[in-house]
């Protein structure tokens, strides 16, 4: 068992190492095949481990590789409990489908091998993150994920926008990382250890509310950076500059789910700090609404999906903030299915449209790309919250739990409900503008269905988007039974949806919201693309000018400060010191050069001086 799960973790790393050295020399499609194989094998191994847990086998297993920082008592060890197994399954499952899809999508790219090396690195990073059994390993995975996202977002670094997007993602993530790091220091200072078992075990007794609030707010900052929540969401829409499979990987399987996972994992700490939990849920609700409104006015198909991801992550934060960790992780999983599907479908559309991403230049694609259309329609219904598709079950469970908490939480529920309506609206808008209506293609563009290697992953994800939600219905909460031990082990008290008729009413209300959204969008976009480039639409399209505000507030000032530092501090200070050392050495050498007379006999005299000196020293030491 240990070997199995260790292998599951190491396979993507092996793939990365191999491809990093030999990937560029292998002809297409071998790097892709290798990378997909490692990801797929990793999935199979994780599946065996997961089935073992379901079958009543090992429920918790800690695998220690070696002592990493003995001074801090930190070990490189990995925890396998239902939560991390589920995360591993999602990461490797969706990840390997995306790998397979990329074999077709990246066809002809000059850095084909490197792309798959990075993809495998990304998988490995994410697996490290979700399986680490202490905060230090979690942090390593956290940073590795940041690194690989940087590498992949700016994969086409010839484009200045892509390079800038990669930088932006990295820098914004760093801001969150600062919070995470501070939280780690506080935790270590309080508990003297970073191991999950010890920290979560002692937390209820040892942690005061004030300190818990401080730690969890810092954790939240880290999670907001990684999971693109307010106010650190700005990197994610720009991350669309990467190749589309990368977007799918970042948005669905890896990276953005890290924050949700981390909040769920540290659930006990949030439970001890009700204020922080409330802040988490509020940030989630605000982000959900905020991003949904922006998504309504986007024309770039990938930007719609990007803001949609931010919005859906808001739901997950709402869930974990309300202590509905199972519901949050459940939504994470279903979202992984349909968002990966949406992104891969969008990639298929872009692929067929020869790189065109503007929905105003699409339309009428349903006829020429039937498979892409069919699968994306499934995802559309799933995200809009129409039963029995996957999104309905998970989103509804979150909303039910939030409503059940009563009081101020009802406001959050209302925001969530309205966001659901908006979600249905903008997704329907996207579907109509892309697949419905008349063709508005540019001249010379001949859309075509994508190759089979791209369509098959779409179909698999489509099936998962249909049935994925059924593993955790109110009638048969399989996932909840599966995950509960993981949270119980860390003393987390899960919130549950209210009993009785209330959930039914809530479910019908949210279905109604979804249907209203779909209907409104259908009415507006069925036959034409209205002019949406003025007034409030413009404001929404530009994302409330948040980017411009950040640019004015931080980037301009920061740039000026950096230039000043480069001119005065770096050039005069650092460079001056370096040059000064060189000049000093030169000056000393000029003075000392005459010592090297070139006359052997002078050197011999010098040797004799040393000999006499040594002799004198021995004699004084000898007591003469």
């Amino acid at each position: 068992m240990e070997t199995l799960i260790t292998l599951a973790l190491l396979l993507p790393l092996a793939g990365f190492t191999f491809l990093a050295f030999f990937g560029t020399r292998l002809p297409e499609p071998w790097p892709g095949v290798i990378a997909t194989t490692t990801a797929g094998l990793s999935f199979v191994l994780a599946l065996i481990a997961g089935l073992d847990v379901i079958g009543g086998g090992t429920e918790r297993l800690t695998v220690t590789w070696f002592e990493w920082l003995p001074a801090l008592g930190v070990e490189a060890s990995f925890l396998y409990d239902p939560l991390s197994v589920l995360m591993t399954l999602v990461v490797t499952g969706v990840g390997s489908l995306i790998h397979a899809y990329s074999i077709g999508y990246m066809h002809g790219d000059e850095r084909y091998g490197r792309f798959f090396a990075y993809m495998n690195l990304f998988l490995f990073s994410m697996l490290t993150l979700v399986t680490g059994s202490n905060f230090a390993v979690l942090f390593v995975g956290w940073e590795l994920v940041g690194l690989s996202s940087y590498l992949l977002i700016s994969f086409w670094f010839e484009r200045p926008t892509a390079a800038a997007a990669g930088k932006k993602a990295f820098v914004v993530n760093r801001i969150g990382d600062v919070g995470f790091l501070v939280a780690l220091m506080l935790i270590f200072n309080t508990f003297g250890t970073l191991a999950f078992d010890a920290v979560f075990g002692e937390a209820p007794a040892a942690l005061g509310t004030g300190l818990a609030t401080g730690i969890t707010l810092m954790l939240l900052l880290g999670a907001a950076g990684k999971s693109a929540q307010l106010p650190l969401y700005v990197w994610l829409p720009d991350a669309m500059e990467g190749p589309t499979p990368v977007s799918a990987l970042i948005h669905a399987a890896t990276m953005v789910t890290a924050g949700v996972y981390m909040v769920a994992r540290t659930g006990i700490l949030f439970e001890l700090a009700p204020v922080s939990a409330g802040v988490v849920a509020t940030v989630g609700a605000a982000t959900a609404l905020f991003a949904a409104t922006i998504a309504v006015a986007q024309f770039d198909i990938k930007r719609v999906l990007a803001y949609s991801t931010i919005s859906q992550l808001g739901y997950m934060f709402m869930g974990v903030g309300a202590a509905a960790h199972v519901a949050g992780v459940f939504h994470l999983m279903t979202h992984a299915f349909f968002k990966a599907l949406l992104f891969l479908g969008a990639g298929s559309v872009i692929h067929g449209m020869a790189g065109q991403q503007d929905m105003r230049k699409m339309g009428g694609l349903a006829r020429v790309m039937p498979w892409t259309f069919a699968t994306m329609a499934v995802a559309w219904l799933a995200i809009s919250g129409i039963p029995p598709f996957a999104g309905f079950w998970s989103k509804d469970e979150i909303l039910a739990v939030v409503f059940g908490r009563g009081g101020g939480w009802t406001v959050l529920w209302a925001i969530g409900l309205f966001t659901a309506l908006l979600t249905a609206f903008y997704m329907t808008r996207m579907m109509w503008m892309t697949f419905g209506g008349k063709a508005r293609w540019d001249d010379g563009v001949h859309p075509h269905e994508s190759p089979r290697v791209m369509v098959v992953p779409l179909a698999v994800l489509g099936v998962l988007s249909v049935v994925g939600g059924l593993i955790n219905t109110p009638f048969k909460p399989t996932l909840e039974h599966f995950l509960e031990p993981a949270f119980e082990a860390f003393h987390v008290h899960l919130a549950h949806p209210p009993e009785g008729a209330t959930p039914w009413v809530l479910a019908f209300v949210s279905i109604a919201a979804g249907l209203i959204g779909i209907a409104a969008a259908t009415a507006r976009y069925r036959s034409r693309v209205p002019d949406e480039e003025r007034g409030a639409w413009k404001l929404l399209n530009r994302g409330y000018y948040v980017d411009d505000a950040y640019a004015a507030a931080f980037v301009v000032g920061g740039g000026a400060a950096a230039r000043w530092a480069a001119a005065s501090f770096d050039q005069k200070g650092i460079d001056g010191a370096v040059n000064g050392v060189a000049r000093l050495t030169g000056a000393v050498a000029r003075r000392l050069r005459p010592l090297q007379t070139g006359f052997v006999r002078s050197y011999a005299v010098a040797v004799l001086v040393g000999t006499v000196g040594l002799l004198a020293w021995f004699m004084t030491r000898g007591g003469f």
Binding site: L595, T597, G598, V600, R601, A604, L608
Partner: protein
Amino acid sequence: MDLTVTPGWYMALASVLFVIGGAGLLLRRNALVMFMSVELMLNAVNLTFVAAGRELNVLDGQISVFFVMVVAAAEVVVGLAIIVAVFRRRATASVDELAELKG
């Protein structure tokens, strides 16, 4: 008067020979003479080895002399070859002429 020749006498003689060799090394410019001075210094040390070996009743002193001789022979062979090579190029055996590497 009973004068026994103790090893100390040999040691003293070896010291004097060693210093004379050192003087030759430091004061003469001829590379060949300098080489001979080095040989003299090595011989002085050999004498101390043999004398000390007799004092301490161990044969290893004499064994050491063998090794010193071998090293000295190797050194002489290479050194003389260098002198010949230099002489072919510069037509001099004075080490003071060979000062290209001065700072």
